[in-house]
């Protein structure tokens, strides 16, 4: 199952909730304001580092660029819209609101 998150983890608990309900190896896609979670140096980075040990994490390129999130945590994979579509087509999806 693919888990998608679109809110900043610094002001909203949806990513934390997502992490709690994840099973190992299930991919997480960060888009819209959730791409701030992919930025190195935030207080949330430690949780992303831990997450990357068990699950693939993707961030949407257009949203990263729009927000100038350039210093990406090592291991977070960047996908474009086509990659987004591929992930959605390959998995069932749960959106964390």
């Amino acid at each position: 199952m693919l888990h998608t998150v679109n809110k900043s983890p610094l002001v909203n608990s949806s990513l934390e909730q997502c992490i709690e309900f994840l099973a190992k190896d299930e991919p997480i896609l960060l888009y819209e304001d959730a791409v701030y979670a992919a930025q190195a140096g935030t207080r949330f980075e430690i949780k992303i580092q831990a997450l990357l040990k068990t699950n693939p994490v993707y961030a949407l390129q257009a949203d990263l660029k729009a927000r100038a999130v350039n210093n990406i945590i090592n291991g977070v994979k960047i996908v474009d819209y086509n990659g987004f579509v591929d992930l959605v087509a390959e998995h069932k999806v749960q959106n964390w609101l």
């Binding site: 199952m1 949806s14 909730q17 099973a23 749960q94 959106n95 609101l97």
Partner: protein, 122 residues
């Protein structure tokens, strides 16, 4: 239930009166129930507040929709799950809720999600 019924899950994640999400979700749930699909509901995070007993919206001047959850049984929607930690974090127990629910852990809810044909978040 229809022979070709799909497994459809609604994941209620928002508290009841601060946004339109749960109200719209409940409408969608009731409509889906009328089509005889295999419906499950999961309440997690602040979504568990939807089911809290004794909510009174009269002073807000809005129609309280929460009592409508009691009609779910009439639509044969009996798979109502609540996340154990979400209840505990909010100091709630099953006794505080307006409908009978099955309390599940996060991994159990993940398994239920993986069984579905479709999942709708509210």
């Amino acid at each position: 239930m229809a022979e070709d019924a799909k497994k459809i899950m609604f994941v209620m994640q928002k508290p009841p009166h601060g946004s339109i999400y749960p109200y719209e979700g409940l409408e969608f749930i009731l409509i889906s129930g009328a089509y005889e699909q295999d419906i499950s509901l999961v309440f997690l995070g602040d979504g568990v507040y939807n089911l809290k007993k004794d909510q009174d919206t009269s002073e807000l001047g809005i129609k309280g929709f929460v009592k409508t959850y009691r009609t779910l049984e009439g639509y044969d929607i009996e798979n109502i799950y609540v996340d154990q930690n979400s209840l505990k974090d909010r100091g709630l127990t099953q006794e505080d809720l307006i409908v009978d629910v099955k309390v599940k852990t996060a991994p159990e809810i993940n398994s239920l999600m993986n069984e579905q044909h479709a999942i709708f978040p509210f």
